[in-house]
């Protein structure tokens, strides 16, 4: 694997993470993160679908007429998602019930279509596979962090294993029920973006109304 190839794989992990920088695929990133187990299943499903879709679309990229390429891409992705959904139903029925509609929603997950359109359509198969895998892993990384925080503080457990003794069972930890509700996911992701951008100032968005009168202070920061 050449250094350039390795970059396709590692860049989407932090530097151009699909969730925190490109605002892609956020819907499912937030909905399935109430527990580590659902987040991990969703991550695996998305990474597999994304890698396979990138490979397939890159393979036939020279034969796709540009006027119907979107329809064909969606069809390929939907077929892959149906396979993933059926496999989950067959071998992990309970998990597929807990994920409810969100596995199906990988079809409209913007990461898959976005990578197909911007990368796989213009690059050979091997880089596309690496790019798909890298973006899938970047998405998984965010999902796992958010899920670890939500399940850890919301239920005192990770992967369903009780780590903090609950107050209701004689321990000291009172679960923060709020962490399991929808708003907490937004807050955690917002704060994560803040932390990430403090570490990587290149990702900070430009100010819509820069203050001219305090130019010295701005430069000093």
């Amino acid at each position: 694997m050449t250094p350039e190839h390795r970059k396709y794989l590692t860049a989407p992990l932090i530097d151009s993470n699909p969730v925190t920088l490109q605002i892609l695929g956020i819907c499912s990133a937030l909905a399935v993160t109430t527990s580590m187990a659902t987040a991990l299943t969703m991550s695996i499903a998305l990474t597999v679908v994304l890698t396979a879709a990138s490979a397939l679309i890159s393979l036939i990229r020279r034969h796709l007429p540009s006027s119907i390429r979107l329809v064909l891409q969606i069809t390929i992705i939907a077929a892959l998602v149906i396979v993933a959904d059926q496999i989950l139903r067959a071998y992990a029925f309970e998990m597929s019930q807990r994920l409810s509609v969100f596995v199906g929603l990988i079809v409209t997950n913007c990461i898959v279509l976005g990578r197909a359109e911007t990368f796989a359509m213009r690059n050979p198969v091997w880089p596309s596979v690496l790019d798909g895998l890298g973006n899938g892993l970047g998405y998984s990384l965010v999902l796992m962090i958010v899920a670890a925080l939500r399940e850890g503080f919301g239920a005192g457990a990770l992967f369903g294993v009780q780590l903090l003794p609950l107050a209701s069972e004689g321990g000291w930890f009172t679960p923060l029920g709020f962490m399991l509700l929808a708003p907490s996911a937004f807050f955690i992701l917002g704060l994560m973006i803040w932390a990430l951008r403090t570490g990587r100032p290149a990702q900070i968005e430009p100010d819509a109304f820069p203050r001219n009168d305090t130019g010295a202070e701005e430069a000093g920061r």
Partner: protein
């Protein structure tokens, strides 16, 4: 029925409590008038596609739907994803042409937003929820309307807040996307306070 409508509109708001269509929600909410256009398009598409998908699913795909043709054991429900996406894309296309022909003023306003809606997960999600929760036809009409209006309500309110936020002096790392998430979280908290509205 009004119970279901209010639930879809407020408490089970697609954008704020199921995180559906959040990509579009964050990307197309910088101005109130564009948010209004997208919201109207969403109401229209949502209230048309969910009942039609209901008819297609229960008429063609569900187990036993082909009983009249002597094939009672055929179960095509695994095709629902690909079918719904096709139906949504087709309906959006038809709506666009129909609007252009009969209500050109509305088409001018919504024109650019309609294609965007095809890949909005709130539309597909609404149809999948309809299947998951086994709504009847009248229920799915009400659910489509309620969830569409709920999504539009959320994005318009969010855009209005965001227009003001541009003047705020927020920390550099939080500017833009980070702040948008925090505000959405606050709105989501507000909407979850509607639990019980419309309950008997």
């Amino acid at each position: 029925m009004s119970d279901l409508f209010l639930r879809a509109l407020l408490q089970e708001n697609l954008a704020l409590s199921f995180f559906l269509g959040i990509c579009t929600f964050l990307a197309v909410s910088k101005r109130v008038d564009t948010a209004l256009g997208l919201g109207l398009a969403m109401i229209l598409v949502q209230s048309v596609t969910i009942p039609i998908n209901h008819l297609i699913f229960n008429g063609l795909l569900i187990e036993g739907a082909w009983g009249w043709a002597g094939l009672p054991e055929v179960d095509l429900s695994y095709l629902k994803l690909i079918c719904f996406i096709g139906v949504i894309a087709a309906i959006v296309q038809i709506l666009e042409m129909a609007l252009d022909r009969f209500v050109p003023l509305l088409h001018q306003r919504l024109g650019v937003f309609l294609p965007l809606i095809t890949v909005n997960c709130a539309v597909l999600g609404g149809s999948l929820f309809m299947v998951d929760r086994r709504y009847s036809l009248p229920e799915s009409v009400v659910y489509g309307l309620g969830s569409g209006i709920g999504w539009a309500l959320a994005i318009i309110a969010f855009a209005a807040i965001r227009e003001r936020l541009r003047y705020a002096d927020s920390p550099a790392g939080l500017r833009g996307l980070g702040m948008a998430f925090i505000v959405t979280g606050l709105m989501s908290m507000g909407f979850s306070a509607f639990v019980g509205v419309g309950a008997p």
